[in-house]
C-alpha cells in the first residue's frame, strides 16, 4: 500500500482587482495532479519555476488548502483532518526547505531549535537533551554546535540542523523542497548522501522537489516532470533516464550543461513559459514545442506508455 496518495489535486489562486477585490481570473498553479509515494520510497517532482511543484508540496503539507482533489495519507484524507488528527499528520509529515537561514529562528540556539518539536508534542518518554545530541550526531554535527545560533553556521551546517529538526519526531514522510539548491556542490554531495543514509536508517519516504534532474538521478525512485501545473511524464527513475519520452523532459535533459554526447534526442524549446493565468489551450507545451502538430490543439491525457511509465503527449 502506498503511504501518500494524491488524486486530482487542483489549486487555483484567485487574482483580484480593484477596490472591491473582484476576482478577475485564476492562476492555475496546480491543475489536476495525481501520484502516489510508497513506503521508504523517494518521489521527485521536477520542473521549472511556475510548474506548480512547490504549490503541490505546500498543499500536501497543508500550508495552503487545495481547491479540489484528495490527498490520502495512510488511507486518511488529509484535507479533512482537524485538531488531534491534524497534529498526528503533521508529526508524521515533516519538511526541509531551501534556505535554512529563513526556516530556522535566528534567535534560538541550535539545541533549542532541534528540541522544539519534542516540546511541542510533549514527548515525555524521551530525555530531550540526549535526543538532541543523538540527532545532531545523526546529521553529522559535533555536539558543540548545539550552543550556537543559526547565523554562526555555514549553509551546509544550517541545513543539517533543519534536517535534525525534521527527523526528531520520526516522521514517515519528509518533504524536501529544493533542499540543496542554495548549497555549494561539494556540500550538496554531503547533504544528498545524508538523505540517503537517513532514508535507510529511519525507513523514511521523501517527496523531493527540485529543478535539477541530475540530483534526481542519484536519490529518487520515481520522477514526475511537471509543466504549468500538470504532470507531463511520470516514471521509475531508471526508466525515465533510459527512455525519456515527453518533449519537455527531453528539453530539460538537453539543457543540462555538458551533455552534448547524450543518447536522447536533443530538443530546444522556443521562448519562455507562458503565464499560468492563461495557459495555452490544448497541450500546454504546444506554443514552445518543436514537435507540435495538428492534434496538439486538443488536450492530451497522462497515459501508460509502458510498464511504470506514463506520458501526456500526442506523439505516443
Amino acid at each position: 500500500m502506498s503511504l501518500l496518495d494524491v488524486r486530482g489535486l487542483v489549486k487555483y489562486f484567485p487574482v483580484r482587482k480593484g477596490v472591491f477585490g473582484r476576482v478577475v481570473g485564476y492562476v492555475k498553479a496546480v491543475d489536476g495532479v495525481s501520484f502516489s509515494i510508497g513506503e521508504n520510497e523517494v518521489f521527485a517532482l521536477v520542473g521549472e519555476s511556475g510548474s506548480g511543484k512547490t504549490t503541490t508540496a505546500r498543499c500536501i503539507l497543508r500550508l495552503i488548502e487545495p481547491t479540489r482533489g484528495e490527498i490520502l495519507f495512510m488511507g486518511r484524507d488529509v484535507t479533512k483532518l482537524k485538531g488531534r488528527e491534524l497534529k498526528w499528520y503533521r508529526r508524521n509529515v515533516q519538511a526541509v526547505f531551501q534556505n535554512p537561514f529563513l526556516s530556522l529562528n535566528p534567535r534560538m540556539k541550535v539545541k533549542d531549535l532541534v528540541a522544539e518539536p519534542l516540546k511541542v508534542y510533549r514527548d515525555q518518554a524521551q530525555d530531550v537533551e540526549r535526543a538532541v545530541e543523538e540527532h545532531l550526531e545523526m546529521v553529522g554535527l559535533p555536539r558543540e554546535v548545539g550552543e550556537r545560533y543559526p547565523l554562526e553556521l555555514s549553509g551546509g551546517q544550517a541545513q543539517r540542523v533543519a534536517i535534525a529538526k525534521a527527523i526528531i519526531l520520526r516522521p514517515r514522510l519528509v518533504v524536501l523542497d529544493e533542499p540543496t539548491s542554495a548549497l555549494d556542490v561539494s556540500v550538496q554531495a554531503q547533504i544528498l548522501n545524508l538523505f540517503l543514509d537517513l532514508k535507510k536508517e529511519l525507513k523514511l519516504s521523501y517527496l523531493l522537489i527540485t529543478h535539477d534532474l541530475s540530483v534526481v538521478k542519484y536519490v529518487s525512485d520515481w520522477v514526475a516532470v511537471m509543466y504549468l501545473g500538470r504532470i507531463v511524464e511520470l516514471a521509475r527513475t531508471e526508466e525515465l533516464f533510459e527512455n525519456p519520452l515527453h518533449p519537455y523532459t527531453l528539453a530539460l535533459l538537453s539543457s543540462i550543461p555538458g551533455t552534448k554526447k547524450a543518447k536522447w534526442k536533443r530538443i530546444e524549446l522556443a521562448g519562455e513559459p507562458p503565464s499560468a493565468l492563461n495557459p495555452p489551450k490544448g497541450c500546454r507545451l504546444r506554443p514552445r514545442c518543436p514537435l507540435a502538430f495538428e492534434k496538439c490543439h486538443e488536450e492530451p491525457q497522462l497515459v501508460e506508455y509502458s510498464k511504470e511509465h506514463w506520458v501526456s503527449c500526442w506523439l505516443y
Binding site: S154, V185, A189, L192, H211, D212, S214, A251
Partner: protein
C-alpha cells in the same frame, strides 16, 4: 587583450582584513572566453569586480595589475575609471531585476548609456543605438521592449536586456558574473548560446564567472579554478575537465551529480571552505586534500606550468611531478 598579473585583492572590514584574491594571473584574447570557477568564498566575484574596475570602497587591489590593451585598470583615478567602465570593460550580473532602476523604462536606461558612453546627443540617435543593441541580443519585438518597465519583462528577457546594455558602449572585455544562475534551465541554455555568439561576432574577451563546471564546458576555451582566493588550476577547458591535475579540481568534478551516473552515493569533499580570516598555513587546500603530504602543511605551492596548463600543487613540484 585582457591580462591579469599577480593580482591580490583584500577587503578591509571591522572584523579584520579578508584576503579575497591572492595571486591570480591569466590572459584572455579577443573573441575568446575564460571561465572562472569556484565555490562561494573562492574570490571569483571579487576577481570579476577588480577586472571591471568596480571594486567596493573597502576593497583594495594591493598587488598586481589588470591590463586591458596595455592600460592598467587598477591605477586609474575615479574620472578615468568612469570613462573606462562600459567602453572598455562591461559587466553583467546574476540578478537582472536588481540591475535596472525600476522607475525608468528600458528605453530610458539604454538611451542614457548611449548618450553618456557613445556621446549621442540626439534622442533619436540614442534610441537607434538602443534598438540596435536589443536586436543584437536577439530580442523579439525590440520596439515594444524599449517602452517597457523592468518589471514587465521576465527574468530571461531582462537578462538579455542587461547583456544588451553591457555591449552597447562596445567594450573590449565583458565580465559575466553567474548570468544564468537565476534563470530556469531551458532559458539558461539560450543565454549561454547568446554570450558565445557575441563573444565571437564582437571580438569580446569574455570572462565568465560560475560555480557550475558543466556551464564552463559550454562557453569557454579556458578555465580557471579558484579555491579560497588562490589560483588552483588554469588551462584549456576540455583538458582541465577531462584530466584535472589539482586534487581540488579532481574532487570538485567528482562530487557533481551527473545524469550519466547514479543512483547511489556521491563523493563529497570532506570538511568545508576555510574561514577567509584564518586561512590554513601552507597549501590552503591541505586540510581537505586526499593526497596531502607533510610539506603541504608548510609550503605554499607556486603555480607551475605543466601539460599546457598552470597548476598550483606541490605534487607537481619537481621530483614528485606527475603523481596522482
Amino acid at each position: 587583450m585582457l591580462e591579469v598579473r599577480g593580482l591580490h585583492v583584500s577587503y578591509y572590514t571591522l572584523g579584520g582584513v579578508i584576503r579575497a584574491v591572492r595571486g591570480v594571473s591569466f590572459r584572455v584574447s579577443p573573441g575568446k572566453g575564460l571561465c572562472i570557477v569556484g565555490e562561494s568564498g573562492s574570490g571569483k566575484t571579487t576577481l570579476g569586480l577588480a577586472i571591471a574596475g568596480a571594486l567596493p570602497p573597502n576593497a583594495r587591489a594591493s598587488r598586481g595589475s589588470v591590463r586591458i590593451d596595455g592600460a592598467n585598470i587598477l591605477e586609474l583615478g575615479p574620472e578615468d575609471l568612469e570613462r573606462v567602465r562600459g567602453s572598455l570593460v562591461s559587466m553583467v550580473f546574476q540578478d537582472p531585476a536588481a540591475s535596472f532602476n525600476p522607475l525608468f523604462t528600458i528605453g530610458q536606461t539604454l538611451g542614457d548609456i548611449a548618450r553618456h558612453k557613445l556621446g549621442l546627443a540626439e534622442r533619436s540617435e540614442a534610441r537607434e543605438a538602443a534598438l540596435a543593441a536589443l536586436r543584437r541580443v536577439g530580442m523579439p519585438d525590440p520596439e515594444r521592449v524599449l517602452d517597457a518597465y523592468p518589471h514587465e519583462l521576465s527574468g530571461g528577457m531582462l537578462q538579455r536586456v542587461a547583456i544588451a546594455a553591457a555591449i552597447l558602449p562596445r567594450p573590449k572585455v565583458l565580465v559575466a558574473d553567474e548570468p544564468t544562475t537565476m534563470l530556469d534551465v531551458t532559458l539558461q541554455y539560450q543565454i549561454l548560446k547568446l554570450l558565445n555568439r557575441l563573444k565571437e561576432t564582437l571580438g569580446l574577451a569574455l570572462v565568465f564567472i560560475t560555480h557550475n563546471l558543466g556551464i564552463a564546458a559550454e562557453v569557454c576555451e579556458d578555465i580557471l579554478v579558484l579555491y579560497a582566493g588562490h589560483m588552483v588550476e588554469l588551462g584549456p577547458t576540455d583538458k582541465v575537465l577531462e584530466e584535472p591535475l589539482h586534487p581540488y579540481t579532481q574532487a570538485l568534478i567528482e562530487c557533481i551529480p551527473r545524469i550519466d551516473r547514479g543512483p547511489g552515493r556521491l563523493k563529497p569533499i570532506p570538511g568545508s571552505m576555510p574561514d577567509p580570516r584564518r586561512l590554513p598555513g601552507g597549501c590552503v587546500f591541505h586540510p581537505r586534500c586526499p593526497h596531502v603530504m607533510d610539506i603541504c602543511r608548510e609550503r605554499d605551492p607556486r603555480p607551475v606550468a605543466l601539460d599546457k596548463r598552470v597548476v598550483s600543487c606541490l605534487l607537481y613540484n619537481g621530483e614528485k611531478g606527475g603523481a596522482r
